[in-house]
Symmetry: C2
Subunit: 425 residues, 2 copies
């Protein structure tokens, strides 16, 4: 399907390029033109969308989430982390089946679409369910492997790495990872380091989310989680860490030296009282930061606008510096860095040849007026209400409150509620 | 006009009362019935609204804002407070005329409505413009006096106190206040204390927002702002402070003893790097807390959902306690405490005889599913997108994205942009 979107302001997210007025052409799942209006275009279009002067930009990338945890939303809030994880989350997850995960994924995708998120880096329990979700919805998901001592073998991981990286359209892809240092013994981590080395592929992992995690690791190994995992060779091919809240000086140096990404999850870190990540210091050191919502059990919403405001607002407060982490830097994290961290360089900016993962932002809402600085409006006052249209791989999956996901909103809600009721009682 | 809203879940916000299914009747600007469905009702209705199982609750109260600062949204972000205030805000405000403020107020009201905010405690420059706004829109605003050494006399304040408290419908009302200790000399504060005593009325003021403000006051007076203003007799009739970020032990005791409200503005305090207010300690001591957005120049959005998440999330993080400030407590602050802090006890809950300031929350959105705990969903995952309808004084001012404010959305946007362009260049 070929689509022309015209009469739009365009924010390509190319470094240094300002917003301009023009149009964008999409052929199949790929952007074919981004530029000023073409008055004598002779192309034939399957569809033409009048953007009415609104803003077209690349979609947000949710660089760390556990989508199907939607069933746990508001089930266990205002609780201590240990109690939350051991008494609520793990027993409930034990009852999940593949069919649950499929529908709970779809519920999460609905919410991602309302927030302009066009792809997610998803770490959860059933890869077949995730593949089915992607096939049926047309949404883009990158699986992050989450093997640990309680499930999975490196042989299976190697197979999955090949199996889930075969999609030529890259709607589904796969990155090597594991759950965390505290759930994974040294033998398994060494095997994973070997696999990373064998294929020259990066490794992703939950790391230094809580103070207790860091203290426990120090007691056991004499090193921080970053230091210990690096000493096992896990970061030789790059990769990234999720959370990165509690860091010492040497940790920063390792992240920098290994070209690792940090994915910050500010709302989840607040709600679970984990702390506030040192994002400004990461940026000052040139360590790239991307942004994730984390799962809906801990956040509890899947909203990049909330995460963007927190990413800058919290740094300003803890660094006592209102100039910390300016708005354009936050947008870059939420869009470009996210794509790169997830291994989706073809989804980073609006340009010819890039994937057509784009969103249309409604500027005719009071929170976007007056139109003085649209980038700042997005970060400081933007909300889900501003997302008029979300397109993934050239297909409009959400527009003006309506979803195009292969099943109705009512069915997805009903299935998700059934799963929640059956599992949680 | 008489309205029946049926087929709704109802959250009255009465202490200890759970959500139930039923209907609400409105006669004129007042609630006439709240309870289970009445099958054989013989009333005649001008209008019946099918709530489709969604949630009806009292509107949010924005207990501290400067509405017409909408013209400064995204004009001066990522800047130090002094530079922001002296080089950007004050010179721009000097060029504002009454007509500007009227239209900029309307722009703010549009955004309040999208966030389910049914009344605001507004501290700004032109009371006649605010009165005109209220008369033309039907929105509910409480003027907070903002006299200081740079403008106003106590004689005028006394006149305004009488003039703006005459409206029998209480769409507009007025509370005694002044800008801040650092902009107001001792003679004026003593006169205001006298006025407060004369009429037995509370006093509201910006207080202890920044560390510098507290340090400067200590240097000048040997006391904190709270201590100094209390020593001048300003809090003998109660009232409240806006911000209350930097407090010492004695300050807490004074707030408690004088029955003062604290209005917290967490997003603004983050963005201007002012700090994080000790909300948990206020609650532990029984000091009532309400929530404000502060003005759009510092926030930059007017969204109670963002403030609610921050009010609890920040406390969990800084107190290292995920149980801090549970969701129902936050809702109480945003609804009931706000009404009481602003002198609107008739707007606090849904009950017969209370004003019909209500909102309908769309539960058929992915961020509200599954429907396990609606109160927690509101606080932790709610967003503007969930506001289906906002009613003030029995009049629907916003429904399904459409406004009913006496002038079109296009006209309000155009006027606000004109003001911004003329003033800011």
């Amino acid at each position: 399907m070929n689509t022309r979107i015209y009469n739009v302001r365009i924010l390509t997210m190319e470094a240094g390029k300002s917003i301009f007025r023009g149009e964008v052409w999409v052929k199949g799942d790929t952007i074919a033109y981004v530029g000023p209006s073409v008055l004598d275009a002779k192309e034939k279009w399957d569809r033409e969308i009048d953007g009415q002067g609104n803003l077209l930009m690349p979609g947000f990338k949710n660089a760390h989430t556990h989508s199907a945890m939607t069933f746990l939303r508001s089930h266990a809030d205002d609780m201590k982390l240990d109690e939350w994880l051991n008494n609520r989350v793990f027993p409930a997850e034990a009852k999940l089946c593949e069919e649950d995960i499929y529908w709970l994924n779809k519920l999460a995708i609905m919410e991602y679409l309302t927030s302009g998120i066009t792809s997610v880096f998803d770490m959860y329990l059933s890869k077949p369910a995730t593949l089915r979700t992607v096939e049926d919805t047309g949404y883009r998901m990158v699986i992050c492997e989450s093997i640990n001592d309680f499930g999975g073998t490196v042989r299976e991981v190697e197979d999955d790495y090949k199996r889930y990286n075969q999609d030529p359209d890259r709607l589904i892809s796969y990155q090597l990872g594991f759950h965390a240092e505290y759930t994974t013994g040294r033998p398994l981590m060494e095997e994973l380091a070997g696999l990373s080395e064998k294929y020259g592929i990066p490794v992703y992992v939950h790391c230094s989310e809580t103070k207790k995690e860091v203290e426990d690791c120090r007691r056991r190994t004499g090193m921080t989680p970053v230091g210990y995992m690096d000493s096992l060779g896990l970061f030789r091919q790059g990769g990234g860490i999720f959370h990165g809240v509690h860091m010492d000086d040497a940790d920063f140096d390792i992240l920098k030296q290994r070209n690792l990404y940090v994915v910050t999850n500010p709302a989840s870190n607040l709600k679970l009282a984990s702390g506030i990540a040192p994002v400004k210091r990461y940026l000052d050191m040139g360590i790239p930061v991307a942004i994730g919502t984390d799962g809906p059990a801990s956040n509890n919403c899947l909203d990049m606008f909330r995460e963007m405001f927190l990413t800058t607002g919290l740094q300003k407060a803890i660094c006592d510096d209102p100039e910390a982490v300016p708005a354009m830097e936050v947008l870059k994290m939420a869009v470009v860095n996210g794509a790169h961290a997830m291994g989706l360089p073809e989804c980073d900016i609006l340009a010819e040849g890039r994937k057509a993962d784009m969103i249309l932002i409604d500027l005719q809402q009071p929170n976007m007026q007056p139109l003085q600085n649209i980038e700042k409006n997005l970060v400081y006052s933007g909300s889900k209400q501003n997302v008029k249209m979300t397109m993934v791989a050239g297909k409009v999956l959400y527009q003006d409150g309506e979803y195009n996901l292969g099943s109705s909103k009512e069915e997805i809600f009903a299935r998700a509620n059934e799963s929640a009721r059956r599992i949680l009682g």
